[in-house]
Point group: D3
Chain length 227, copies 6
């Protein structure tokens, strides 16, 4: 049927978009919505600073506007949820961010969540966002692996660092659930989970998992209702 969820990876790294698309496999239901994953070719290779966030905020809104007619809902697949407020102003369809959905899913799987970030400089931005969501008390801690988005394709190094970081979140920060803080980490979920013995939330899966129901229910925000 015609229902489609558009998953927007706002960076231009195709490997990340592919990884996301593969991670969607279990969520592709026969009668369920189509899940289309797109990257933004004008976006930066990774969202790694505030300039990137500002840049893709506009790009995402443009893409939503362009696809509003043939999509039933949108997922912003970058762990800073860039432009989510603008996106919700741009369409009357449901918009979910992978950071918010990753964290709220984690909060149904454990009492304290830890986040694996890519870079140290992502962490203050994430902490501000968690504060804006009012969820600071549930955060065990966030730690970075020190690799940029494009470096995540180096499997050996990335996996090792992710596991080491997840163990610190478990043992030092006492997290009982882990959220992967970058859409580009999707392919490593199972292996990290097995290595640390904690549930590991892949945030795009979490968001799309929620979007399937949401597009059927079609609930709108107050501003969407008034527009």
């Amino acid at each position: 049927m015609g229902e489609r969820i558009l998953v927007i990876n706002p960076n231009s790294t195709e490997k990340v978009t592919q990884g996301i698309a593969e991670a969607m496999a279990p969520l592709r239901l026969d009668g369920g919505p189509e899940i289309e994953c797109v990257g933004l070719e004008q976006g930066p290779p990774g969202i790694e600073n505030e300039g990137h966030v500002a840049q893709v905020t506009t790009l995402i809104a443009e893409r939503i506007r362009a696809r509003d007619n043939d999509c039933a809902g949108f997922v912003i697949a970058c762990y800073s949820d860039p432009g989510i407020a603008l996106a919700r102003e741009t369409t009357k369809k449901p918009v979910l961010g992978i950071a918010e959905c990753g964290m709220l899913t984690a909060m149904t799987l454990g009492q304290k969540f830890g986040v694996i970030a890519i870079l140290d400089r992502s962490i203050p931005r994430h902490l501000r966002y968690i504060g804006s969501l009012g969820w600071t008390d549930r955060l065990a801690g966030e730690r970075a692996i020190g690799l940029g988005v494009t470096e995540l394709s180096d499997e050996g190094r990335t996996l090792t660092r992710m596991i080491d970081t997840a163990k610190l979140l478990r043992d030092q920060d006492r997290a009982d659930v882990i959220v992967m803080g970058c859409a580009g980490m999707a392919r490593y979920r199972d292996r990290v989970e097995q290595a640390v013995g904690l549930p590991v939330v892949e945030p795009t899966q979490a968001a799309v998992g929620m979007a399937i129901g949401r597009v059927r229910l079609g609930w709108r925000t107050r501003a969407q209702m008034a527009a």
Copy 2:
């Protein structure tokens, strides 16, 4: 296919179970999981005090145990999420509560959520639960309509009180999204939403909407992984 989500209404009021079952209509996808709604005939007519909570905590666990083999996930359809911790110890399948999912869904639809409770004496229990979830800062307020679960079938009176209460949550407590704080209110969602101009979250829809994705992903809590 064989996947089934079991929605357990822990009270014995069939009308509530029926209302829930009807509310599931938009979430029944062709290739998606079967959504089966059951009431607990040994449960009280409504979960209205701590004795009821304790009673159904055990009943829910028993039911989950009895159905663990033929279900892929469970939703506890009472806004106190009774026995959710025990349920998650009882099965390795995903268990979601309608209060937690109602609230976390609301947090994606507005900055401050208001809750419509059935009775004043439900409110302290809900506040404790919100505190345990760390979401107190997102709560605008909770107000009761002063009707027990079985009285909710009186349509005129219930709808009037729900709308009046939702308006107080909007105007006095400054909520920008409303959560219906009882599974028995499902049938009133659309009319309350239209009357107040705010999104109104029907919590069983919110929970089952999330469960559809979750049963495909199969993530377990730390304790479920270790068991």
Copy 3:
């Protein structure tokens, strides 16, 4: 005189009940209330999971009902305060939990309290409870000794682990007061305190110490007043 505080140890391990009874010695005043300590023979040997909590919730309420006529107040002597909300619905007499009283007493003795738990899997339950009480900001941290309730009778091993754990709470988590997170730890209080140089709160003493005054004042909750 006839006033009596009933201290209910909801587990069936007599050694724990005995340890509690001995810890009551300083609180037995000549003209003060009688302090009677009972175990629940149908309870589990220790409250170590959610199933145990559910089980004793009902048992405690039954015991309170059975003894309501000859007791002036009740203390639930398990650090999960199981069934405290139900107990307060069951009697019009004061009911105090050792977790709540242990923590609030600690908050008069230091700015940040650390908790020594028995098992890692107790900690999420305790954290939820602290959240429901709104006291998360005062918690330095909680750490487990990795011993079940019945294993606490092994003095050497238990004492060593309690001291090591208390030192981590002091040095890593920067607690300035320690709460023992299990009624079965009562006998170790003095030795842990001496070893770490921080005040150590034995929670049943804290609760009964408060109950002595409370049974004289007889204050009731709103629900108890309305019943």
Copy 4:
């Protein structure tokens, strides 16, 4: 026996000291500690501003020093808990404040407490104190009756205003337990409670009720242990 709790009313209004002494009646146990209530004749008639707080901070410490040899514990009977940190540095005996004990007792009687203050200008000081204790999330609200300490002896006017204020705390701020925010309000407790149908905590009773147990246990703060 020789144990004595010294209740220090830091103002010079004898009527307040008398009211406190009378409120102690239910807490005078035959074999329990003597409860001695004293006013500070050099203190102001009421603690109504920061100058008063500073003034009595020193006076209270002097009095504790003077009576340290013949008292087993101290209660500071002013709802600003003036000088409590200094007092705990002055003696190795337990020191409790009526504000802290009033609030923590209230937190065992309801989920949200409301406070009846004497003057509007007391409220910011109380809010800062509640913040320092980390209990802000449990506060429903605080409202003043607009009467100074010495005016509290005007029974008719005071009682009327207290009841009106308590009803606002109940109905507007949704408190389910009330704390009287001045030691001089003690005599009105029963009547306010009956009028509003919520538990009303008289804070000096709450503090002395806790002190009875505390002087038997003798727990010290870290600083008291190190001194």
Copy 5:
């Protein structure tokens, strides 16, 4: 001397820029920094939605880049602090936002601050920002006057609504200090303050008042130091 603080009003309404410039009068010290106020002619007439925020985020960064050589510090004069994170990435000079400085100045003038917003739809954005700053507990409430930025030049209507709103913040929300939540309200400060008897913080004055010292101290963020 050559030190200059650039105050960037990101909207294109000259009247707002003029009002800001006039409000700077008391802060123009003889030997102090020059205070230059500029509007952004490409900006919208007022920052009233998320699209405007996104638009000016980029414009502000461009302007800072263009003026980085001849300015010692920057103030973003819009109460949403649009693009403040990006601005701090764009220059190594101090950047202050009027919302953050308005609120932190208010927190030195009262215990609970109330905010006068222009439009209801600004409030969720402001609440998210306050959450990201961790200051939610200090907020009494925020209320809108229901006028857009360009409508603020209608003096009679604006002043009346600001005073009415400030009184609600004082009497209903119990604020003891008011923050004007739009740079375009500057000219009304004195009259609102006189009418309500609470301190009223004009946020651009607050921010520039802080910037004077900051440009002399030159402290940089971690990222600015590392760049």
Copy 6:
């Protein structure tokens, strides 16, 4: 011109007053306010316990009263902000504390601030103060160097310990900005900052930097307005 900010170091250690005066150099603007730094000869050598706090609370108020006619504003230069509430009751001029201004300045420079204290026993007092200000969520941690105020003049030892402590705040507590928790540390700011690569806030500079603007604006608290 006649405007003067009086910086009151409430201890009697001249070296500390000198260090503060030297730190004021960048803030002495040609046409700006005179910045006069005074110590209190009757004060203790350092404010290191609650007795010292109580003592200087009164002394500071006296000094403010004595200088109220020839000063436009006051800064309390001790990191416990002793007597700040009383000081604001004593004068109608602006009063700023270095702890509050140090922290709020830090909150514009990083997301999580760490504090270097002099002594372990200062920390609970500081934590209570942070709690009263509602800023606990922004605190990364506080750690002491274990030196009293007069020992801070031992340059080698002090600097080494400050750097080591700042590194722990950065690496263990994950602070991204440091606040020096004693006015006597002023001279070490630059060297600590260089050593750790994080911004280091000298709190007297932060407070005086804010006071320059504040004395021009002259905003008063509600109580100052009403007096």
